[in-house]
Every structure is written in structure tokens, then in C-alpha cells.
């Protein structure tokens, strides 16, 4: 049997030692009625060769031409060394580093990751990651609400009033969906994104809305535009709300880090780590990052690694602040989360070490330049225009003058992943595609996309 090493002799010897006549006897505490399940619909097992042949056939069906869709998942170059190292059995098949002495490799990697993420975001502290960008936003909101409820409680208020979270500008709609699912049962209401005609934050609508416990702003925003983060941060600070920044880690090589937004910076920063050496892979596994200020460190959910010393005084690493976590605090934990995406964090750490500040900056700059080239190429066509005029990073909204959904399907038929039709998520942008060009896209790729779009529009 696959992966079960026992010989017939092993089985006999072991049963004899136990004093059981058969393996089935070991299940004699289970009601016989429960042992009559029909597993008939399952297929027969196959060897690795046949499994891989079948899976390869399916994988080949999904192979496409160059990808021009971003929307939270980006086709960046991944240095070969990243997954050679992350796939080492010592990293890949290790458990959570609860036994610190036997896990110094994983623990030091996480410490280095924490160092890199705080440097990138200019925030004080971060955890060892959460599941993905959407769940990171959900956890950020829960954190902000815990902090603000604590403040209110100290002011004598009760917990029962629903808490409002404002969304300044275009935040990823799928992140918002996930965050709403995660926070819904805790008296939290996440508002609709407040977007002005220029595609960026509608500050007037923010001021006119209900008083929020926290304000969420994404940089660059979901529509690719560079947001008015200083103004939004200042507004939040002056209205007693915490500021949650959702950021793209590649963009942070170029853009002002959230720790420096406004006068005092963001309070909580989250996002998805996929751009840092993680393949698109249908969106997962990736990892969510979650950074904050020192004063909120005890509100931070999930694992955190600290540097300390061993009994001989030598430096070493261990999980710390565990008293906040579910396995100790149970019903009073900061979250039920008990995972970090360790393997993906390992990959991201190696990626950031290989890229360095200059490598990441060049990647970001190249992405921006390529996307500008793409927008120029596409809008050189008669019926295609840029929807918004503000500065963008590596994504842009182009208006093709007709419903974009069917056009994307036509592009797909010619093998091009040609941007995301926005009508489903933003009905007022039904004629628009959200397009992206990473550093991997060549002039030939861009020309091929332009050609395919021209043909689709000529139909």
C-alpha cells in the first residue's frame, strides 16, 4: 500500500504483541452500525506515474499565454534559489516551531522575515504571518476593534454598540468580502468603499459618514491608483480612528511606507505577500502580513518570534507572547488563528534577501514602466481610453467602450489572460478592464495583447 511500510509479518507480530486477532478488533469500541459505511464510490489507487500523468493532462489544459491580470496576484520573476531552498525537506516537512531547540532554522527565518517586513513597511512589529491578504484585513479589523473597545471601556462605554469601519477609496472587493465574513458575528460593520469620480478616496463622503473605529485605505488602491494616504491618515488621526493600511509589498520599494503616512503613520498595516517570491498558483498558498505599532503588540494575533538567549547565554530564537494565543487563552484568545504560512514566509525571506532594497526597487520601477507602456499601447487604439487620470503604480483601468466581460472571454479563447473585467465588482466600470504588466512582460507580449484586443474589439 502506498506509504505504509508494514510487511505481513510486521502486522502479525504487532497484533500478537497487542493481543488482538485482527486489525478490525482494534476498532471494537466503535458501534458496528458505524462501521458499515460504503466507500465504494472512491476510485482504485494508482501509482505515482499514473497520478502524475493524469494531473499533467489537467495542468496542461490551463496553460496560457502571457498574463496581464493582477488584482492582488502578480506574475513576477521568482529567483530559482527561492523554491530550491523553501522546498528542502527540513523546511517543508517541519512542524510549527513549538520545540524551539529543534526548530532554530524556522525560528530564525521568521525573525529575519519580521525584520524585513518592518523595514519595508516602516512599522515597529509584525507577526509571523496569517493566511492571505483577505484574512489579514479581517484580522486587522478585529485588532483595531479590540483596541478601540478597550479605549471605550476605559471611558465607561459598553461593548454592545455596533462598530463601524470606514473604507476610504477602492479597497480590494474580495478582501472586503473575506473581512466581512470573518468579522460579521462580532458586531462589526465594514462600510462600502468611498470612491470619488477620480477613482481615489472620496474624503467628503468619509467626513459625512458615521464615526468609524478605524479607516481602511489601500495603497496602491484596487484600481491601481496611488491614493491620498497622507490626507486619509491625517483624517483618521484627527477623528480618533485607527488607520489600517493595505499595501502591496513590491510597491513599497518605491512608495512612502505606511509607517510614514500623515504625521504619525498608519496604526496597522496588512496585505498579501504573494508578490515576494510566491507563484500565482491559483491564488494560494500565499501569506498575509500584519504589522503594527509597539503599543498594539499585545493585540496582534498569531505567532511572533523573539530573540533571546539559551541557558548557556548563547543567542537563540523562540516563539514569544504566546499567552495571547488560543492554545493558552482559549475563549479569551485574540483570535482562533493558529497557523502562519511558514513555508511561504520562508520563500519570501529568501526572496527579499536575494532582491535586497535595490533589486526590489528595480522590480517595482520596471513594473511601473511596463504598465505605462501597456497603457500607452492599448490606448493608442481608437476606442480604448484610460478611465482615470491620476498616477498609477503597476495596474490601470482601461475603458474599451463596451461590456468588458465578453471581451475578456474572447481574449481567453486566444489564450490571453487579458485583465480583469470590473463590471462584476464595480458595476459602474462595466466597460473597463483592470490590466497589469509586471517586469516579466516583454514588448512582444504587449504587442500580442494589443493585437488580440484589437481583434476582439473588431468583432
Amino acid at each position: 500500500m502506498p506509504f505504509i511500510p508494514h510487511t505481513a509479518e510486521d502486522t502479525r507480530t504487532m497484533l500478537a504483541r497487542i493481543g488482538a486477532a485482527s486489525i478490525d478488533e482494534l476498532f471494537d469500541e466503535i458501534d458496528t452500525d458505524l462501521m458499515r459505511a460504503d466507500f465504494g464510490p472512491l476510485a482504485d489507487g494508482v501509482g505515482e506515474m499514473d497520478m502524475l500523468a493524469a494531473m499533467s493532462g489537467r495542468a496542461r489544459r490551463d496553460q496560457t499565454g502571457p498574463c496581464f491580470t493582477g488584482a492582488g496576484c502578480y506574475d513576477h520573476h521568482i529567483p530559482a534559489a527561492v523554491w530550491d531552498i523553501a522546498s528542502r525537506g527540513e523546511f517543508m516537512t517541519a512542524y510549527t516551531p513549538y520545540q524551539a531547540e529543534a526548530s532554530q532554522g524556522t525560528l530564525q527565518v521568521i525573525y529575519e522575515y519580521q525584520s524585513m517586513m518592518t523595514a519595508l513597511t516602516a512599522m515597529d512589529v509584525t507577526n509571523a504571518s496569517v493566511y492571505d491578504g483577505g484574512s489579514a484585513l479581517g484580522e486587522s479589523v478585529l485588532m483595531a476593534v479590540r483596541a478601540s473597545r478597550r479605549r471605550q471601556r476605559q471611558g465607561g462605554a459598553r461593548d454592545s454598540a455596533p462598530v463601524h469601519i470606514a473604507v476610504a477609496g477602492a479597497c480590494h472587493p474580495l478582501y472586503l468580502d473575506a473581512a466581512r465574513t470573518i468579522t460579521r458575528n462580532q458586531g462589526i460593520e465594514i462600510g462600502e468603499p468611498l470612491i470619488a469620480a477620480d477613482g481615489r478616496t472620496d474624503l467628503d463622503a468619509l467626513a459625512a459618514g458615521p464615526a468609524p473605529a478605524a479607516v481602511v485605505v489601500q495603497q496602491p488602491n484596487f484600481l491601481g491608483l496611488i491614493e491620498r494616504v497622507d490626507e486619509v491618515t491625517a483624517w483618521a488621526a484627527s477623528h480618533g480612528a485607527l488607520l489600517i493600511g493595505v499595501v502591496n509589498p513590491t510597491a513599497l520599494a518605491l512608495l512612502k511606507p505606511p509607517g510614514e503616512w500623515g504625521d504619525d503613520g498608519a496604526d496597522i498595516v496588512c496585505g498579501d505577500g504573494q508578490p515576494l517570491g510566491i507563484p500565482m498558483a491559483s491564488g494560494g498558498p500565499s501569506f498575509g502580513f500584519l504589522c503594527t505599532r509597539q503599543r498594539l503588540v499585545r493585540q496582534l494575533p498569531g505567532r511572533i518570534v523573539g530573540r533571546t538567549v539559551d541557558s548557556l547565554g548563547r543567542p537563540g530564537f523562540t516563539l514569544t507572547l504566546q499567552a495571547r494565543e488560543q492554545h493558552i487563552r482559549r475563549a479569551k484568545a485574540t483570535s482562533n488563528i493558529c497557523t502562519n504560512q511558514g513555508l511561504l514566509v520562508t520563500a519570501a525571506t529568501v526572496y527579499l534577501a536575494l532582491m535586497g532594497a535595490e533589486g526590489l526597487r528595480r522590480t517595482a520601477a520596471r513594473c511601473h514602466a511596463r504598465t505605462r507602456d501597456l497603457v500607452d499601447a492599448l490606448t493608442s487604439m481608437e476606442s480604448v481610453t484610460s478611465r482615470f487620470s491620476g498616477p498609477f503604480f503597476h495596474e490601470a483601468v482601461i475603458d474599451i467602450g463596451r461590456p468588458a466581460g465578453p471581451v475578456a472571454e474572447t481574449l481567453a479563447a486566444s489564450g490571453v489572460v487579458g485583465g480583469l473585467p470590473l463590471g462584476q465588482l464595480h458595476p459602474e466600470l462595466d466597460h473597463c478592464l483592470l490590466v497589469c504588466a509586471t517586469e516579466k512582460r516583454t514588448d512582444a507580449d504587449i504587442a500580442a495583447f494589443r493585437q488580440a484586443l484589437a481583434e476582439a474589439l473588431a468583432r
Binding site: 476605559q154 499585545r298 499567552a323
Partner: protein
């Protein structure tokens, strides 16, 4: 055997309270600090915070546990022990002295009578029913 000074009053949740000059000083008992192990952090209330008896008002955290501290009587916070921020080990070293948490101006000092005397608290700890809350 943990110390249980006779001049203090005790809550079932292991806080001690002492009324002096109209102000109630609150900390955690020797038994509690011993059960928690090395205290690494204390989250204190804000000055002027009003609190009802039995309400969660602070958190004490060790490597292995984080426990809520409940106000033993109703009142207003008039002092907090800032020194615990940099030296939480004082809770272990001197739970009834330097390791105090905060002081309350009680609404009704009669509420202290609802707390246990030292010998009753000692019994409470020994019966094994004294689960950390």
C-alpha cells in the same frame, strides 16, 4: 506554602485589597503570582477610569498564561503602578509591596466586606478549587 498577610482582604479570583486612608490598593496574591510563574507584562487601567466590582480591569501575563484582573470593589482609579511597565518581575518578587497594581477610590468601602479574610482565602487556595480565571 504561600504568604497570606492577615491585614488584607482577598477575592476568589486572587486579587488582594487593602483600605488605607480612604483608598483601596489592589494587587495579586502570592499564591497567584506563584501559579502564574514569571510575570512578563501587566496591562494596567487608565487613571480616572470608573469600574464596577467584579469587572475586568487589568491583565497580568506570564510566559504560560494571561489572566484577567477583576476590580475587587467599585470605584475610580486614582493611581497605577507605572513601575511594573519596566519591571514586571516585581509582581513575583513582592506581590504585596512593590508589586501592587492600582489604587481605587471606592464608591462604598463596605464592599470590602464581601471579600475573604486571610484564613478563608488560605482555605480557598488549599481546596484546589482555586482555578485561575
Amino acid at each position: 506554602m504561600s504568604e497570606t498577610p492577615a491585614e488584607l482582604r482577598y477575592a476568589a479570583t486572587h486579587e488582594w485589597a487593602q483600605l488605607r486612608d480612604g483608598v483601596v490598593t489592589v494587587g495579586i496574591s502570592d499564591f497567584a503570582q506563584d501559579a502564574l510563574g514569571d510575570v512578563v507584562y501587566v496591562e494596567l487601567p487608565e487613571l480616572d477610569q470608573e469600574v464596577a466590582a467584579g469587572a475586568e480591569i487589568a491583565v497580568v501575563e506570564s510566559v504560560k498564561a494571561a489572566s484577567d484582573i477583576y476590580a475587587p470593589v467599585s470605584g475610580t482609579v486614582v493611581a497605577i503602578n507605572d513601575g511594573l511597565e519596566d519591571a514586571p518581575e516585581r509582581v513575583n518578587q513582592d506581590p504585596y509591596g512593590d508589586g501592587w497594581f492600582f489604587k481605587l477610590e471606592p464608591l462604598d468601602s463596605g464592599e470590602l466586606d464581601n471579600l475573604m479574610a486571610a484564613d478563608a482565602y488560605q482555605d480557598h487556595c488549599e481546596t484546589g478549587e482555586a482555578r485561575e480565571s
